[in-house]
Amino acid sequence: MMMLDSIDELLEHIKEVQVDVMELSNESLMKMSSFMEKNNLEIDEDISTALQYQDIITQQLTATNEAINSMKKSIDIFSHAYKSDEGLANESIVKLKDKLNATLQDAKDKKSRFSGKHATEHADDEIEFF
């Protein structure tokens, strides 16, 4: 079970790195937009897109961190089951596998959902009115 403890620590580390990435990315783009606003610089499509990518980055990494939290919880449940009764280990590992697969699928769905036009090769620029 030491292996699972190491995986848990690694997952925690990845989460922390991702939070740092989100904060640094946000800070850098806010500095850029603040400079532009102070100097009354006009925003063009490229700069607007760059600023909005920050939102996509944040949503993607937040969704990944949610998946990591879910994985950590599943591993923790398995670890407790294993420690209390090794006979349950085989049954628990099947449940763990199913939970991890479900978490992965959910994370992949969110990656697709939160990509906006960035994920679409021939993005339709039209605004859709109802």
Binding site: N26, L29, M30, S33, S34, M36, E37, E42, I43, D44, E45, S48, T49, L51, Q52, Y53, Q54, D55, I56, T58, Q59, R113, F114, S115, G116, K117, H118, A119, T120, A123, D125, E126, I127, E128, F129, F130
Partner: protein, 124 residues
């Protein structure tokens, strides 16, 4: 001047919309939390157009829209969703809740301006 409110938990998205709209003949208010915007609306603020993100913590765009439609002053206020979401079923859900339109991020600045101009019937 017509009042346009933007609601988005992303500061950079708000900065982007601010820079797009600063030359338009509109008053702009921005909020990072829908519940704060809603409280101001319930306290008497009457926006002419609401542009909101969908995925936000505490209160998401659909929850916000439902609340807006329950307030007499914003029952029919034009509301646009500005989001990274592209799923047709979400757009349908928005339409059923009384949404005016759907804009996918990253938006094109010129088209956002056009959308605001069209909804508010500003001089082109």
């Amino acid at each position: 001047m017509p009042l346009v409110i933007f609601v988005d938990d992303s500061e950079t998205a708000l900065a982007s919309t601010r820079m797009v709209t600063n030359s338009m003949p509109i008053e702009v208010k921005q909020y990072t939390e829908a519940q704060v915007a809603l409280a101001e609306i319930k306290a008497g603020m009457v926006p002419d157009l609401i542009i909101t993100d969908l995925n936000m913590p505490v209160m998401n765009g659909f929850e916000f829209l439902k609340e807006l439609r329950a307030v007499p002053a914003t029952k029919r206020t034009p509301t646009l969703m500005l989001t990274t979401e592209t799923k047709p079923e979400l757009k349908q859900q928005g339409k059923a809740l009384g949404l005016t339109g759907w804009i996918v991020k990253p938006f094109n600045p010129a088209q956002l301006k056009q959308a605001i101009t069209r909804v508010l019937r500003l001089p082109a």
